[in-house]
């Protein structure tokens, strides 16, 4: 078999990392500094709304 033939990364693999991984800079001191105005939003709502349409295989 061939390893690392991954030119087109699957979107789910990408979102596992980009939406569930990575440093979250929110809810810390930067939010309390008035002129910074951090715009980053919480993506949990998105993830759960996507998942709600297709229930987990574990729950059936």
């Amino acid at each position: 078999m061939t390893v690392v033939e991954r030119r087109e990364i699957a979107l789910v693999d990408l979102l596992d990392r980009l939406l569930a991984g990575g440093v979250v800079v929110t809810g810390d001191i930067t939010l309390r500094i008035a002129d910074v105005d951090l715009v980053r939003i919480d993506l949990n709502a998105l993830i759960s709304s996507v998942n709600a349409q297709v229930p987990s295989p574990w729950e059936s």
């Binding site: 980009l18 991984g21 105005d37 993506l43 295989p57």
Partner: protein, 264 residues
């Protein structure tokens, strides 16, 4: 129009040039924002798309999300080729450069610690799928010959199907557990992601393991070989490898009691 700052990653200064054709999020090539010996990699993005309300709206749009996620990953990938980036979560946006600088100052020590911990490491993703049994039709097609003759007949058939299904799960979980233990031995660290939904991933089989492993770059070849060797062990199981990724799944700091800098 006002341009906001989209931040991909924080890293240490590096000399190598990023690939010239690199287009970031919103088509804006990534720029380096140096501050106190660290570098934030940022794009200038339109407020009309990246302020809180429009961003929230865009993220509901799978096409927009896909394009943005791929652009984000493209920049992180390019950074991974020349340094060890500390990736930020998708959609981290600041009003202006000074907002980015304030964030960097507030998190300076944690950034440095994490960059030290991750230096020279990459992440590999390993997924295990249990292929659906060929005997189980995906849609219940009722054929006359297939129809149970009686209620008892039906129940017996159901029991057999259930048992076959349970066996498959048992086997899948055992295989996944064994593979995870083996790979964890080779890796410095491991994280389990939630199993992927096959409707979202569009792949066949049920995802029983979705794990990430932190591996020193120099040991990557060995790690890939281990995955390669294990993957044909059990029929009906499919192993998929992705990577090398930036260490997305390992950026969180495990809190050190007393913060002595010691880590076990």
């Amino acid at each position: 129009m006002t341009r906001l700052r989209y931040v991909y990653a924080v890293c240490r200064p590096f000399d190598a040039a990023l690939q010239a054709q690199l287009t970031g999020v919103a088509g804006d090539p990534p720029r380096m924002l140096n501050h106190r010996g660290l570098v934030a990699v940022v794009s200038h993005v339109p407020e009309g798309d990246f302020a809180e309300a429009p961003l929230r709206q865009h993220l509901e749009d799978l096409d927009w999300l896909t394009g943005t996620a791929r652009a984000h990953q493209g920049v992180i990938d390019a950074l991974t080729a020349v340094t060890t980036p500390l990736p930020l979560r998708l959609g981290t946006v600041f009003r202006d450069d000074s907002g980015v600088r304030v964030m960097m100052e507030a998190r300076e020590e944690a950034f440095r610690r994490t960059l030290d911990r991750l230096a020279g490491r990459v992440e590999w993703g390993v997924k295990v799928y249990a292929e659906n049994e060929p005997s189980e039709p995906s849609e219940p097609v009722e054929q006359p010959a297939d129809r149970p003759a009686s209620g008892r007949d039906y129940l017996r058939r159901r029991r057999m199907q259930t048992r076959a299904h349970e066996n498959m799960w048992e086997q899948a979980e055992e295989f996944a557990g064994r593979l995870h233990a083996t790979l964890s031995d080779y890796a410095e660290d491991a994280r389990l992601h939630a199993p992927q939904n096959s409707a979202l991933s569009g792949t066949s089989g049920q995802n029983v393991l979705n794990a990430a492993y932190l591996v020193p770059r120099g040991h990557s070849e060995e790690f890939v070989e281990v995955v390669d060797r294990t993957k044909d062990d059990v029929p009906g199981m499919r192993v998929e490898l992705t990577g090398p990724w930036a260490a997305y799944s390992f950026v969180e700091e495990v809190e050190n009691v007393g913060d002595t800098g010691e880590r076990t």
